[in-house]
Amino acid sequence: MRTLTELSRDSAHARQEQIGQNKGDGPLARDTESGTSQGSAGHSAAHESAIKHVTGRAAYIDDLPAPADALHVAIGFSPVAHGRLTRLDLDKVRHAPGVIDVITIVDVPGHTDIGPVFPGDPIFVDDEISYLGQSVFAVAATSYKAARLAVRLAVVEIDEQPIQLDPIAAAEAGDVVRPTHVQQSGDWQQALDSAPHVLEREQFVGGQEHFYLEGQACLVTPTEDEGVTVFTSNQHPSETQKLVAEVINVPFHAVTVETRRMGGGFGGKETQASSWACIAALFARRTGRAIRLRLPRAEDTRATGKRHPFHNRYRLGFDNQGVLIGGDITIIGDCGYSPDLSEAIVDRAMFHADNAYSLGDARVTGHRARTNTASNTAFRGFGGPQGMMIIEAAMDDIARHIGEDPLTVRKRNLYRAGRDVTHYGQSVDQHSLILEIIERLEASSDYWKRRKAIIEFNARSPIVKKGLALTPVKFGISFTAKHLNQAGALLHVYTDGSVMINHGGTEMGQGLHTKVCQVVARELGLDLAQVRITATRTDKVPNTSPTAASSGADLNGMAARDAASQIRERLFDFAAEHYAIDREGMMMENGDLVAFNRRIPWGELVQAAYLSRISLSAKGFYSTPLIHYDRNTGKGRPFYYFAHGAAAAEVEVDTLSGEYRLTRVDILHDVGDSLNPAIDMGQVEGGFIQGMGWLTTEELKWNAQGRLLSDGPATYKIPAFGDLPPEFNVELLQGHPNSQASIYRSKAVGEPPFMLGISVWSALCDALASLVDYRQAPRLDTPATPERVLMAAEALRQSPAFAPSVETSDDLA
């Protein structure tokens, strides 16, 4: 047997070669061949900060130098989940060693509600306490430890109220953070009545902690005017600028927000980074000193919202072939105590309750339940993954019911000609692409051969059962809030020819800045090294959208392209006049302006333009065309396009202990024409593993008092090195540019691969189903921890359909 070294060394080289061959460059990222500009769009350029990451030079918020008199903040959090604050005595806190200032809601000069879209998020508790971990007061002290110790001296008296932790009960009682929304196509009731088969199921889909490695953090310094400068680990600097200004009661132009990079975001810093910046800004204005604020891991985990847990139900009718005729799907998002982004998140769950399948005549209803937990928020996929889980469960159920392989049933239900309109009225234009991806993966992963081998293995193996599943992803790209689909960029060319690009997007590791630099290099025909990006700042590009919804490169890449092409065209005009050459056919290539028989070096061109008083700066802008959605009718085209992918996962399960291993994964994913294959590959692989973690080991547990028990990495288990499948074959789909005019026909890649992880859950279900000879699907809620897998196995062994394999001892039955 070959060692893993040999195996993976081969696969590592093969992968590098594949990445290279995609665009015809060399095996290593930095070895792009001559002939095209090095590292411009389409090439596997390394992350712009890669060398800084590996040498420790990349600075995160807590690494930034601050004046010696900077103060440190700690937050006093609510110790109960629901109640009325009856007494708050902070005298001892004020007199604790090192304490300089203490604030509560009465110390806020401006707005006290910092809800991002809808009101409901008080910066500090006023009267009502809504969850355990809500901010009650804050302390600024001369050291981090002094601030944290002082917090413990507060006297807090609370009239405790009954707490609600059950979203189903909340939804039934009408206790929702936003109104219920319904999408409907055709007569779903008639479809159910007429269908030859009807199945129904309930499922619980767990939430997920972001577990960004860099916790919430900011550094705020007072300006010489009435404002502040905020350095923050943040996906939405413009919103933080707005909220900080409103809280400290100054015009927006008095507040500048800067984000160079985040140590991970994943949605957790889209709205939930702002309150810390607001608190630090209050202290900065009150004390005139720089303020550092970072949350210790456990406090971060308790105070901030997570991926929404969902309770889903379906009642679906289908024909003898397992093809859906129609039915009813209800999803309940557990929103926590306030709206935050839950309106759009539950909407997106509804938009994805079909995944890649035509539901027929269907109704999809989405409830937004209020519970006494932190306000659940954006997380990679934004409700989409939770919505998809219900239809993927239905596919497995239907397959077991009609005795077909789940893949067969999935394929029969895909959108296709004549069945290509979603339940919200958008037509799926690339439906044949989904089938092509599945069929290619079916072949490359040897699905049917392995299926046969697995059935044979399971028939003779009493305890260990293998499972295999191939699941698709179709994910809609665009913010469903239309106005967010805009972006700006600012491009400067300096007189030495070096180029600076800024845009409204933020870098959280996804490689956005790298891709945007590549776009500019391509537009200007320059080497990537000549294009630099610096921190995202609200005083460079204003009124920006969050870096979210996978839209970063689509929006900001287009805005940067707009700016760069303005400069290029301006230089073409200038050159035509200045050098008296024909403007027709001019190109920027390899650092030169090329026009017929002339090559004018970039540096010389820039110098000449400057001396001729030509502006070398441009701002770019982009807004996504075509999209619209009417919430009154539940119809529209909310998505500019769909991104697709599919994954085949194989697991082996010890049905006596619930332990399992993921042994092989094959992925084929659609990124259109990739802007950077290496970075896209990183998003696909990383998204898959994160999705797998969501559905397997990452378990959030609260006690009956509403205290989150899994509040750190000791109790909350994200995938570790050994969870990487030993065989992991990942490919980007070639030769299928985006059907829409996105940036160089690429497709968004941040979120879609996350849902490839559903294949692992379905494979676990498949392994368990073998216990009953594949005649029923287990109820396997998520995360499918070893505990849930074991209990599901025990339940199947109690089922009348239990089919012990030959050697199983009967005392297990």
Binding site: T3, L4, S8, R9, A12, A29, H47, S49, A50, H53, V54, T55, G56, A58, D62, D63, R148, Y212, L213, E214, G215, R261, G263, G264, F266, R297, R460, P462, I463, V464, M508, G509, D654, S657, G658, E659, R661, A678, I679, E685, G686, F688, Q690, L709, P713, A714, K717, I718, A720, F721, G722, D723, L724, T785, E787, L790, M791, E807, S809, D811
Partner: protein
């Protein structure tokens, strides 16, 4: 005074309180912010540094460690290498170059820790090249969480780092560095015992007599070896430790001595040092070690600490219970020896009297006994047990004898299942006997519902692990060694 070398440069830090962590010293006092804090609990690995100590043959041996839960005073006499100390000017170290070329960083926050774990692996390969198997890579990198990449490019970087020219960091040019560190480590030990150092509250006695003396003088001082659990009180509960006694340098607590019936293992021996012994003589224990915390923790933590900590979910106590281990206790009232069964009294309560400490742990030879150790947790690596079962027995003419069934996670203390043992003792491994043993478990355990598992799950799983044992014995008697159909190789040996 904390006197050590950092990336080849001598550092002398005075007036550092005893409860300062190495990470705080690096980031706050020395301004070296390349090393990150991700969790301050030793679970994520973002703070990983390489600690170099004299290897006994004129060089330095490096191991990875979590700076966030490492007492700063333990840096004394070491050469600490951080992510800032690897590149040679613009020339990246092989592990850095491999990480860049394999696209091994995305957000970059975990990267410094991963670089340092790869560096210690690379150092190991330089001195003793061996195939980088999955097992070795998991062992080296299991304590470094990455939320972005999914680890594949990091695995590729580990596999490719050996292909790069072996550029040495600048500090490696200094031929005197190992000797200087060795000199310092001797000095550091000597100095830490001197009176001025005691004033800082951090004492590191060098021999048993000195330890007894300091225990007499400071009976309330906290004992520290690896600090991998104690330091959580500092970082998570914000406790101040005014007096700390470090036992790592106590000669008598550092031995592994074989006797005719077993081994005496000193309480300050790290798990890393125990690995060869386990591998050769207790394979089931060695297998557990792959899933016991992380490389960073195993390099620092001790079996003595794991026992004295008396957690109901500590991994080694059930194994020691199954083995019938004994403890040598030492203290102001002299020495005594007790069976481990008598050590755990109640939740986190032990038989240790005021001022007493564990000096050594006796591991009996297995001889004709068999040992199985099975750990159940949500994640395979670096997780805490929901249930841990350690079973020991011998087969005498087809009959099970000296059956010891010990569980962690099933009660307030690690405990043997005496009724289940009785059901198996003297019986052939029949279905009926095991059925009785499984039923007995429900009578003798009422486990908790907690974050790691429900009571019902623990009961079902604990019983099912007995069934696994029966199935294995059934295989054994039929001379069929293929267990792939009754358990997963990654979990059960």
């Amino acid at each position: 005074m904390i006197d050590f070398y950092l990336n080849g440069q001598r550092q002398q830090c005075a007036d550092i309180s005893p409860d300062t962590s190495a990470l705080e010293l690096l980031r706050v006092y020395l301004g070296k912010t390349g090393t990150k804090e991700g969790c301050a609990s030793g679970d994520c690995g973002a703070c990983t540094v390489a600690v170099g100590e004299p290897d006994g043959s004129g060089g330095l041996a490096y191991h990875n460690a979590n700076a966030c839960i490492m007492p700063a005073h333990q840096l004394s006499g070491c050469h600490v290498v951080t992510v800032e100390g690897l590149a040679r000017g613009d020339a990246l170290h092989p592990v850095q170059a491999a990480m860049v070329d394999c696209h091994g960083s995305q957000c970059g926050f975990c990267t410094p820790g991963i670089i340092m774990s790869l560096f210690t692996l690379h150092e190991g390969q330089r001195h003793q090249p061996a195939p980088l198997t999955q097992e070795r890579l998991e062992s080296a990198l299991g304590g470094n969480l990455c939320r972005c990449t999914g680890y594949r490019p990091i695995r590729d970087a580990a596999l490719r780092m050996g292909d790069y020219p072996d550029t040495h960091p600048t500090w490696a040019d200094d031929p005197d560095l190992p000797r200087n560190v060795e000199t310092l480590s001797t000095d550091a030990t000597r100095m830490s015992q001197s009176a001025p150092e005691a004033a800082t509250g951090y004492t590191a006695p060098r021999d048993l007599a000195a330890l007894r003396e300091v225990r007499r003088q400071q009976p309330d001082a906290r004992l520290v070896a690896g600090g991998t659990d104690l330091w959580l009180e500092v970082t998570q509960q914000l406790k101040s430790l005014d007096e700390v006694v470090d036992i790592r340098e106590v000669t008598e607590l550092n031995g592994i001595e074989e006797t005719p019936h077993g081994w005496w293992v000193g309480a300050a021996v790290t798990f890393r040092r125990l690995e060869p012994l386990f591998t050769e003589h207790y394979p089931a224990f060695a297998h557990l070690m792959h899933r016991f915390a992380s490389s960073q923790i195993r390099n620092r933590a001790t079996m003595g600490g794991n026992v004295a900590n008396a957690s109901p979910i500590g991994d080694t106590p059930p194994v020691l219970l199954a083995l019938g281990a004994r403890l040598a206790l030492d203290g102001p009232e002299g020495e005594r020896e007790i069976p481990i069964d008598a050590f755990f009294l109640d939740y986190k309560q032990t038989a240790l009297k005021a001022g007493e400490f564990i000096r050594a742990i006796f591991l009996p030879h297995l001889a004709d006994r068999q040992l199985k150790v099975w750990k159940l947790s949500k994640r395979r690596e670096d997780d805490i047990s929901a249930v841990l079962a350690a079973f020991s027995w011998r087969l005498d003419n087809g009959v099970m004898k000296d059956v010891r069934l010990a569980y962690g996670g099933m009660a307030a203390i690690p405990r043997r299942a005496l009724q289940a043992e009785a059901a198996l003792e003297g019986q052939s491994p029949s279905r009926a006997a095991f059925e009785a043993a499984r039923a007995a478990l429900r009578h003798e355990f009422q486990p908790l519902d907690d974050v790691r598992g429900s009571s019902e799950y623990r009961l079902v799983a604990a019983a099912n692990l007995l069934e696994r044992l029966r199935l294995m014995l059934e295989k054994e008697t039929s001379h069929d060694n293929n267990t792939t159909e009754i358990c997963l190789d990654a979990y059960a040996h």
